[in-house]
């Protein structure tokens, strides 16, 4: 089942005289339960693509359907409503509210939907156990480590069981140990909950955890790689090779 379908997306910034095209007629389709990475050099438009897909930014042209809902035509209020139920976010800078405890942060998306408290508690316990942060529930964000913060952020994205989770460089601010720890948890959640994840990253290691990698260059899809049945290490090598071709710079590992 196709969960996200984007066709002919254009995005340009600036005015009529000084226009800069970032996305140039990009087509993309994501199936339910996929874990997709979007890679590309700086300035290739990957973050813009994520913003446009996740309704935070408006596309200049084209159509984006998530679970059959056309989001490019929606008004601000409808969009907020849509994000509330269908989308989850994980950001590079964790984006936790420092004045709230871990548990309060994670429960935020549920409080919008006015879910009964008992049910919310149960969901919290499940997701927090899975991510290994249940013991931290009464701590404030500045009392825990970066990796723990990012797992909190991930728990917040998963708790309301959204259709798609968008992750923007989730490992960008983490050391490699915490990063692979987080990615393991993410792909675990992806498999167990059949959750769809779209992740922007420039780190081939992070990308190798996903099932498909989309490479973007100059606002268009350059190529795609499918993991298939091969082991992660082999997939990582593939990604490295493609990246070398794409950027012309050898990634050292």
């Amino acid at each position: 089942m196709t969960i996200l379908e984007a066709s002919k997306i254009y995005k340009s910034y600036g005015n009529k005289w000084n226009k800069q095209d970032v996305l140039k007629g990009l087509d993309l389709s994501i199936e339910k339960g996929e874990f997709v990475s979007i890679m590309g050099a700086s300035g290739s438009g990957k973050t813009t693509l994520l913003n446009v897909l996740s309704s935070i930014d408006k596309a200049s042209n084209g159509s984006i359907k998530i679970e059959g809902n056309e989001i490019t035509q929606m008004k601000e209020k409808q969009l907020a409503e849509f994000r509330k139920h269908h989308l989850g976010f994980i950001f590079q800078e964790y984006n936790l509210l420092d004045t709230l405890t871990v548990k309060e942060n994670i429960l935020l998306p549920l409080s919008i939907t006015k879910m009964p408290k008992k049910e919310a508690d149960q969901k919290f316990a499940e997701v927090a156990e899975e991510l290994g942060i249940y013991e931290l529930k009464d701590k404030y964000p500045n009392e825990i480590s970066g990796g723990q913060k990012q797992r909190t952020s991930a728990a917040r994205a998963f708790i309301h069981e959204p259709s798609i989770i968008f992750a923007d460089e989730p490992t960008g601010a983490l050391d490699s140990k915490s990063a692979s720890d987080l990615l393991n948890k993410l792909s675990g959640l992806n498999q167990r909950r059949n959750a769809t994840i779209v992740m922007v990253t420039h780190d081939p290691v992070a990308a190798s955890f996903s099932s498909r990698v989309i490479f973007i260059k100059d606002g268009q899809i350059y190529t795609q790689l499918n993991k298939g049945e091969q082991p992660r290490q082999a997939f990582f090598q593939d990604i490295m090779k493609t990246q070398a071709v794409l950027g012309g710079v050898q990634y050292e590992h």
Partner: protein, 648 residues
């Protein structure tokens, strides 16, 4: 781009941020200039009345300078901190500190003196209006004219130039002390880190509430008779003041967090958007602003209390005058009364005359007093008291062997509370007459000459009165034993009759009074006091409102990333705005509510010293204060709205 362009650009860009600062500056200059203009206005001589009045005006202008300069320095401090990043950047690209200082000073200079000129102009244009208001409330009959005073201009200029120099000095010290690194970090270091509340803090929170409650409790007992000696009363007052102020500080430091923490605990992590925006944010911020909020609250309470008390006196002038002078005109000698009556007849003014014979007895009130009056300078067993016959008073009929008291001031009632009934004794020269005391009437039937400003008058049955009269104790008698009250039939002729009264020059004699004169005199005094306190209160209100607004501006910028997150999570702008409204209700509402509560208890503890009516004037003052104050809350919400809009 050279330095001048940089200054102009900075100015243009900052003007939007500085909008309220400029407004506050203009406003304080205008207020000050208007006030000083009044001070030098020749027409003021009459309103000021006495030397005391002039001194009050001068003191007020000094206080005004104090409020304004503290405010400007504080506001400047907030704004320079907000620009620390910019200053750091200038340093990073190689500008010397001296140069940065000159740029800032030049920028400040333009902003400051521009506002000064506008402020003086505004102050001048409203000074006539203010003068008219003053004349209106003091009841002075003079024409308010627009009068430019160069002395006022010079004084205003000097004061504000001195303040400017202080601001410059502060900026200089600020720039000098900072290194590039520190400049980048300045904001994060001033706001406290988010931490769990410790036991100690919970203790502080509870202690704050207890201290405030204790202060309130003692204040309600202050004049209830528990503190009868002067030193005890004084100690109690100091105690109240201390415990309430310290309590307020601890309240902000701990109690607010403590209470909010309890609410949050109950929610067990499941917070609604309103709670996220208000509770969790305020919990941590109020602590770091505890000192500022305490000052604002205390001075607010002071302003509310003083204004209420002034307004109570002003409002009760008529009633107090009625209690003191029991007729339009009161006389205690036959001769003066006849002279005045003849003059009224000649002028064709109709009147009623009321004659009451008043005798003094020594009364034993001990059996009906709620408490004994130790420490007071009266002996309850031998109290001098005015007695009149029930024949002199309409609508009151005392049975034989019974007495009714009438006309008892609220003030004395607090100190000497009477029981509902009991037996008292009136002592003549030879005999003692026991009487049953059977109640208290509100009305004052004879003037202050006999009642000494509030002690009750006893009404007895006529035969008893005659017996007392036969057996007078000459030691306690007053010079006169006759009260003559003259009431006009037509109140519109009062003004005319009053002129006749003045032209006959009775007033030097004790006990000959015109109620109208008393009212006018009181209105003039109380009106001036009210005007001055009102003026200071308004200045304080606006400056403190501005400071809270500036703080909120800063907070909103700091919390902007949070709004971004929340909007990404799917909260609409409307959701966030409702949360912000809740937050501002607390941010502005808590200091206001605490200030009002302090003011309320202050007024309740001592209002009867000032007048005869408490609720109407106090509520008017409080509502007005709250309304003006909430304007700043509304302004800050609209600022937040802008920030939220830009957040995604």
């Amino acid at each position: 781009m050279n330095i001048n362009q940089l200054i102009i650009r900075n100015l243009k860009k900052n003007l939007k941020n500085y909008f309220l600062y400029v407004f506050a500056l203009v406003f304080s200059v205008a207020l000050y200039f208007a006030f000083v203009t009044l001070q030098y206005d020749p027409a003021m001589t009459e309103a000021k009345g006495t030397i005391k009045g002039a001194a009050a005006v001068r003191t007020a202008s000094i206080l005004l300078v104090a409020i304004v300069s503290i405010f400007l320095l504080y506001a400047n401090n907030i704004f320079i901190k907000r620009r620390s990043k910019e200053i750091g950047l200038f340093q990073l690209i190689g500008m010397t500190k001296g140069r940065i200082f000159r740029i800032l000073s030049a920028e400040n200079f333009i902003l400051y003196f521009g506002s000064l000129v506008i402020g003086i102009f505004l102050g001048f244009s409203v000074s006539r209006l203010i003068l008219m208001i003053l004349f209106k409330i003091t009841g002075v009959d003079a024409v308010a004219s627009l009068h430019f005073s160069s002395e006022a201009l010079v004084q205003t200029m000097i004061v504000f130039i001195v303040i400017y120099l202080f601001i410059i000095l502060m900026n200089y010290l600020f720039i000098k002390r900072q290194s590039i690194l520190a400049l980048f970090r300045v904001i994060s270091s001033t706001e406290g880190k988010v931490k769990k509340l410790s036991m100690f803090q919970n203790f502080i929170g509870i202690l704050g509430l207890v201290l405030i409650a204790t202060g309130y409790y003692v204040s309600s007992k202050l004049f209830g008779g528990d503190f009868t000696t002067m030193p005890a009363l004084f100690a109690a007052m100091t105690g109240i003041l201390g415990s309430v102020i310290i309590g307020t500080y601890l309240f902000y430091k701990g109690s607010v967090s403590f209470i909010f923490q309890l609410i949050r605990k109950r929610k067990d992590g499941y917070l609604s958007i309103n709670e996220v925006m208000s509770l969790s944010s305020i919990m941590f911020r109020m602590k770091s602003n505890a000192m500022l909020l305490t000052i604002i609250t205390t001075v607010s309470a002071l302003a509310i209390g003083l204004l209420s008390l002034c307004y109570i006196s002003y409002y009760s002038v008529d009633k107090t005058a009625q209690n003191n002078v029991a007729a339009d005109f009161a006389f205690i000698t036959e001769g003066d009364a006849t002279t005045f009556e003849t003059a009224l007849d000649n002028a064709g003014i109709d009147f009623h005359e009321k004659r009451i014979e008043v005798i003094q007895v020594s009364a034993n009130l001990k059996p009906i007093l709620e408490r004994n009056l130790e420490g007071m300078m009266v002996d309850p067993a031998n109290m001098p008291m005015s007695v009149i016959s029930d024949r002199s008073v309409k609508n009151v009929d005392a049975a034989p062997g019974e007495t009714i008291f009438t006309g008892y001031s609220d003030l004395l009632q607090k100190f000497m509370t009477l029981k509902d009934s009991g037996t008292i004794e009136f002592k003549g020269l030879h005999q003692v007459i026991p009487l049953k005391y059977s109640g208290l009437e509100k009305e004052f039937v004879i003037s202050w000459y006999y009642t000494a400003g509030g002690s009750p008058t006893a009404i007895v049955d006529d035969p008893v009165f005659q017996r007392l009269k036969q057996d007078l104790d000459p030691k306690v008698q007053q010079k006169s034993s006759l009260f003559i009250g003259i009431n006009l039939k037509n109140e519109q002729q009062l003004e005319k009759a009053n002129k006749i009264f003045s032209s006959l020059h009775f007033s030097s004699e004790h006990g000959n009074d015109s109620r109208l004169d008393l009212i006018k005199e009181q209105k003039k005094n109380m009106g001036l006091a009210m005007f001055i306190v009102g003026f200071l209160g308004l200045t304080f209100l606006i400056t403190s409102g501005c400071i809270l607004y500036f703080k909120q501006m800063g907070e909103s910028e700091e919390e902007k990333p949070n709004y971004t997150i929340l909007r990404k999570l799917g909260f609409t702008q409307g959701n966030l705005l409702r949360g912000i409204q809740g937050k501002q209700l607390f941010s502005f509402g808590i200091p206001l509510a605490v200030g009002l509560a302090h003011g309320y208890f202050a007024v309740q503890s001592g209002w009867f010293l000032f007048g005869a009516e408490v609720w109407t004037p106090m509520l008017v003052v409080m509502l007005l204060y709250a309304a003006l104050y909430s304007i700043f809350g509304v302004l800050s919400v609209s600022y937040y709205k802008k920030v939220i809009n830009e957040a995604l």
